[in-house]
């Protein structure tokens, strides 16, 4: 399989109070198509910044980020928007949705907005409902967003990220605001989606979540300090061993 993402000498810095803060310092890595990659690191290490820079949500200060061979750092804002809409999916820790729409409408909104998508609205709706059914939240399709639990809302956000059949899903702490059981449900869904062929790149603080991924990157002070390949998880029974491996690896890196 080829690389879906190639990052070369990526730098990101902010100027705060006339002082330059270098958040990412010459980061280099690549992600293969179909991989499920977790980014871990201490608070303020630059995990989210890396995710946003790689996904085109934030501009890199220098360096290259190639998505399917195209350098997104050279793309205009409009092009990047189209890319995010049609080729990428996003899940965030805060489960933001539009307050005046139902859960299902929020899910299908990106498909309705996409110019690439020529489906009729009814077909999009059916597909949205199908996704909800798959993630076990079809019962809340017509609910308002304040009528459901956090876990259900996060699964709805996963549905929204999948509606345009993206090549990759970027997730920033997708289980950060969830309790343990909801967190596990969400991670299982993401694993299943990955197994169906969608690449996933996520930021997490949780070793348990990272253990479900095929690969873990460890970032400290804007540099990737570690990169571990755990191979694909095929069975729930592997979970304990994988978690132990990740924890040991993290301890070696000073976590």
């Amino acid at each position: 399989m080829g690389n879906i993402i190639e990052v070369k000498d990526l730098c990101k810095s902010y100027v705060v109070d006339k002082r330059q803060n270098n958040i990412l310092k010459n980061v280099n890595f690549s992600v293969e198509e179909g991989e499920m990659v977790a980014i871990m690191g201490p608070s303020g290490s630059g995990k989210s910044t890396l995710l946003y820079s790689v996904s085109g949500m934030d501009h890199a200060t220098s360096g290259e980020v190639k998505f399917l061979g195209k350098d997104i750092t050279k793309m205009a804002a409009g092009e990047l928007s189209s890319l995010r809409l049609d080729e990428m999916g996003f899940i965030f820790q805060q489960m933001y949705m539009l307050k005046n729409m139902t859960i299902c409408e929020n899910i299908i909104l990106p498909a309705c907005q996409s110019d690439k998508n020529t489906e009729k609205r009814e077909d999009i709706l059916k597909r949205g409902q199908e996704l909800m059914r798959k993630l076990g939240i079809i019962d809340i399709a017509d609910n308002d967003i304040n009528e459901v639990s956090g876990g259900q809302l996060q699964r709805a956000c996963i549905c929204r990220s999948l509606i345009n059949n993206p090549q990759i899903i970027f997730a920033d702490e997708p289980t950060g605001a969830l309790n343990r059981s909801s967190s596990e449900e969400v991670m299982k869904e993401l694993q299943r989606i990955n197994q169906e062929g969608t690449t996933i790149m996520m930021v997490t603080h949780d070793a348990k979540v990272a253990a479900r991924c095929q690969r873990v990157l460890y970032i400290v002070d804007g540099n990737i300090k570690g990169d571990i390949n755990l191979s694909k998880m095929t069975d729930e029974s592997q979970m304990r061993d994988r978690e132990r491996t990740v924890n040991n690896w993290l301890m070696e890196l000073g976590w």
């Binding site: 928007s81 999916g89 805060q94 933001y96 539009l98 307050k99 005046n100 990106p110 009814e122």
Partner: protein, 788 residues
């Protein structure tokens, strides 16, 4: 600690606090200026009359033996508490020329008098009483100054017979008795010396002199009976009649009151939204404070101090802005009047304090609800509160709308209360503009011309001819005058039928009560040429038609008989019909053409009317009117619609008021749009960021936000259009009724009301919302991580 929290809050929520500050400035400005103006306008004419010393009953006499006759009657009348008489001379347009030889434009008979002998106070532009005038100089009516573009220092030449005077303009004055739009008579206030030169002339002294009387009384009915015995009465009436003459000025004042009320409503509606909105944003902080153990009282105190501080700063700014803003609004109606109240600034201060009080009270009420919440509830309200309360009203799966249109419609329908504020604000302002446009267009049309006499193709206003005809051989002179016009026009290939209406005051008795009634009769017209809304036209010399106001004054109705003494002969006249007129404020009796009246006694004459025999099209009439201006060497020739506008007199002012209203509407639309959109962006920062993150372009976000304003603006404009006709009937028709009309069929200019004005409002809103919505570009997709 409290102040530290407060300081941080003011800094952190800078945008919303600035928005609130601006809204309070706006509200204070509107409320303070409006309250002051409402009080001023309501006091309006009475304040002016009191300042001028006009008394309770007024009369003007003219003609032979007029001087001295009033004294004899009034001295013996017990109902008269006090009376003041001033001697005056009368002139007409032909007597006055400018330095360049052009005639001075004077609409009606002109009065010349000595300022030293004046019993009325006249006011200059600064509303100071004019006390003296040097020989060779004259103060003249403000309107005459405007009509002729006169400046102080310009010279006007007066010539009548052998008397010649060169009068340098000393300034313009506001004349409480004759300065109204309906009276419109010019008055020249001369030095004693110059006036003595005038009255030394035998012809002026004998034929062109008269008196103006101002009577103080508590019994106007008895005074009216007494005054009816004074010979040569040209005009008489009580304070109410003079007040009525200002009705058109008061129409504009009325518009100002309605505008002021609307501005107050807009201010409070928007303010309520802003306070509710900003407070709902505070829930989370309040919850946290509760959670860490700060007492309700103290939490409330923090927000009350905050709102009090914002309101106070804004109120001070608003107060200072309210003074020039109020003056700007008043300017349009205070040209002809001395308007004011004794507590002007105080009212502005009280209104400003009132706004602060209302804001603090409202904030107190809103924060009161916090008692009911546990810390957790408050925190949850902060996180979910307003954001998660709404229910989707449309279904995107079934909708054919584009995503941004769907989102805009769905937002408006899901949060109607929020958008209702904008709809209400836009609708009120637009409605006012449309009402004024409808009224102005009606006044400018030929629809009302029948209320000023016979409907003709063209009209010629020539007071000099009218006066000389009246003072000549009566009807014969008037007919000769009409013949002269007819011949003159025939020489230029225009075959016309000329006619004119005259008005004469006659003593009348109905139901045992004496009245002085103004009667009208047409020269070369028939009573059947005029419109009657009930009953019939008088068919013979014993029948008359009356107006509703005459019916109200006398109590006479169709079928009743009124005794009228015409040229010393008293006869009974049967009322057979009602007609509408705006002449003489609707007080008129129409006599049959066979009634033999001495037109030498006529008090006034309307414009000469011309009907073209070949019944040409309107465009031809317009061309001929232009030609007639050259033939008669005057600008005072009008088409029917122009004549109607000229008679009503305030069309120009109404148009100016219309533009002023449009300007204010634009200001309101711009401010409300910017401030509302800015608060929406602040509220929806998270949604905007997430939409950008999932691939919505900046342009889509801007379009979504703009479309919401387009929807509410169109809704507001459609509502305003739908309500414009019934509201015009409701608000403006009563004013026309005061002038003597019964019903008004308004002229609606679809291009103006349905396209031009809505287009301007919509365009302004679009630009404002676009420029404000561009701010969403500053919200980045990566902000999803940092939004609370």
């Amino acid at each position: 600690m409290i102040f530290s929290i407060l300081k941080k809050d003011l800094k952190r929520k800078k945008t919303m606090n600035i928005i609130l500050l601006l809204f309070v400035v706006l509200a204070t400005m509107f409320v303070a200026s409006s309250v002051n103006n409402i009080v001023t306008v309501i006091n309006g004419t009475d304040y002016y009359f009191d300042q001028a010393g006009i008394g309770d009953y007024i009369f003007i006499t003219m003609g032979e033996n007029a001087i001295g006759a009033a004294d004899k009657v009034l001295e013996n009348e017990t109902a008269v508490k006090e009376y003041r008489l001033e001697n005056v001379a009368f002139g007409s347009q032909d007597n006055f020329t400018l330095e360049n030889g052009e005639k001075v434009i004077l609409k009606n008979a002109t009065i010349l008098q000595s300022l030293a002998d004046a019993k009325l106070n006249f006011f200059d532009d600064n509303n100071e009483v004019v006390k003296e005038v040097a020989p060779g100089k004259a103060y003249i009516s403000r309107k005459t100054m405007e009509d002729n573009n006169l400046k102080v220092g310009d010279v006007i030449h007066f010539k009548q017979g052998d008397v010649e005077l060169a009068l340098e303009v000393a300034g313009g004055v506001k004349d409480a008795l004759l300065g109204s739009t309906f009276m419109g008579n010019a008055r020249f206030l001369l030095s004693e010396e110059d006036y003595a030169i005038l009255t030394a002339d035998e012809m002026i002294s004998k034929y062109y002199s008269g008196q103006i009387g101002y009577i103080d009384t508590d019994d106007t009915a008895s005074v009216q009976e007494a005054v009816s015995e004074i010979p040569g009465i040209a005009l008489n009436g009580d304070r109410a009649l003079i007040r009525m003459c200002y009705v058109m000025d008061m129409v504009i004042a009325g518009v100002l009151i309605v505008l002021s009320i609307c501005l107050i409503i807009v201010a409070f509606v928007v303010l309520k939204f802003t306070i509710t909105f900003t407070l709902s944003e505070e829930f989370r902080e309040i919850g946290v404070m509760k959670a860490i153990g700060i007492k309700n009282r103290k939490i409330r105190g923090i927000y009350l101090i905050k709102y009090f501080a914002i309101a106070s700063i804004s109120a001070v700014i608003g107060f200072f802005c309210s003074i020039p803003f109020g003056n700007m609004l008043m300017k349009s109606i205070s040209k002809n009047m001395v308007l004011g109240n004794n507590n002007g600034i105080l009212l502005n201060i009280i209104s400003s304090i009132l706004v602060v009080g209302i804001i603090v009270l409202y904030a107190y009420r809103c924060t009161g609800k916090l008692k009911k919440y546990s810390p957790l509830d408050a925190i949850r309200s902060g996180q979910t509160g307003e954001r998660y309360k709404k229910k989707s009203k449309l279904r995107i799966g079934k909708s054919k709308l584009r995503t941004t249109s769907f989102m805009a419609w769905n937002d408006v329908l899901s949060s109607p209360k929020r958008y209702l504020t904008i709809i209400l604000a836009f609708m009120i302002c637009s409605l006012l503009v449309f009402m004024i446009v409808n009224t102005t267009e009606t006044m400018k049309s030929d629809k009302l011309v029948y209320t000023f006499g016979k409907e003709c193709d063209a009209y010629y206003v020539n007071n000099t001819k009218a006066m000389s005809a009246m003072r000549g051989e009566g009807k014969e002179s008037i007919e000769a005058c009409l013949d002269e016009f007819t011949t003159q026009l025939a020489e230029h290939g225009m075959e016309v039928k000329a006619s004119v209406d005259v008005q004469i005051k006659y003593p009348a008795v109905f139901d045992g009560k004496n009245h002085m009634l103004t009667c009208t009769q047409g020269v070369r017209t028939k009573t059947t040429d005029y419109k009657y809304y009930e009953g019939d036209a008088p068919r013979n010399a014993q029948e008359i038609a009356i107006t509703q106001r005459i019916s109200d004054i006398t109590g006479a109705k169709i079928g009743d008989t009124i005794s009228i003494t015409i040229s010393g002969k008293t006869d009974d006249y049967l009322v057979v019909g009602y007609f509408e007129t705006m002449n003489n404020i609707g007080e008129l009796v129409r006599l049959h053409e066979d009634v033999n009246i001495d037109m030498k006694d006529a008090g006034s004459m309307m414009a000469f009317g011309f009907d073209f025999v070949d019944q040409p099209a309107n465009s031809v009439i317009k061309e001929r009117v232009e030609e007639m201006k050259d033939i008669f060497d005057t600008e005072e020739v009008f088409t029917a619609s122009e004549y109607s506008a000229d008679c009503i007199g305030v069309v120009d002012t109404m148009e100016s008021v219309g533009y002023l209203l449009l300007g204010i509407t634009i200001i309101v639309v711009v401010l409300v749009t910017i401030l509302m959109e800015r608060s929406f962006i602040s509220d929806e920062k998270g949604e905007i960021a997430i939409l950008k993150a999932i691939g919505f372009k900046d342009a889509s976000i801007v379009t979504w936000h703009m479309k919401r304003f387009v929807i509410v603006s169109i809704a507001a404009i459609l509502l305003a259009i739908a309500l414009s006709v019934p509201m015009t009937h409701l608000c403006i028709t009563p004013i026309f009724k005061m002038m003597g009309m019964r019903q008004v069929s308004y002229v609606i200019q679809p291009v103006k009301v349905f396209l031009l004005y809505p287009g301007v409002i919509l365009g302004v809103m679009l630009i404002s919302s676009l420029l404000t919505a561009l701010y969403t570009k500053k919200i980045k997709s990566s902000d999803t991580a940092s939004i609370e």
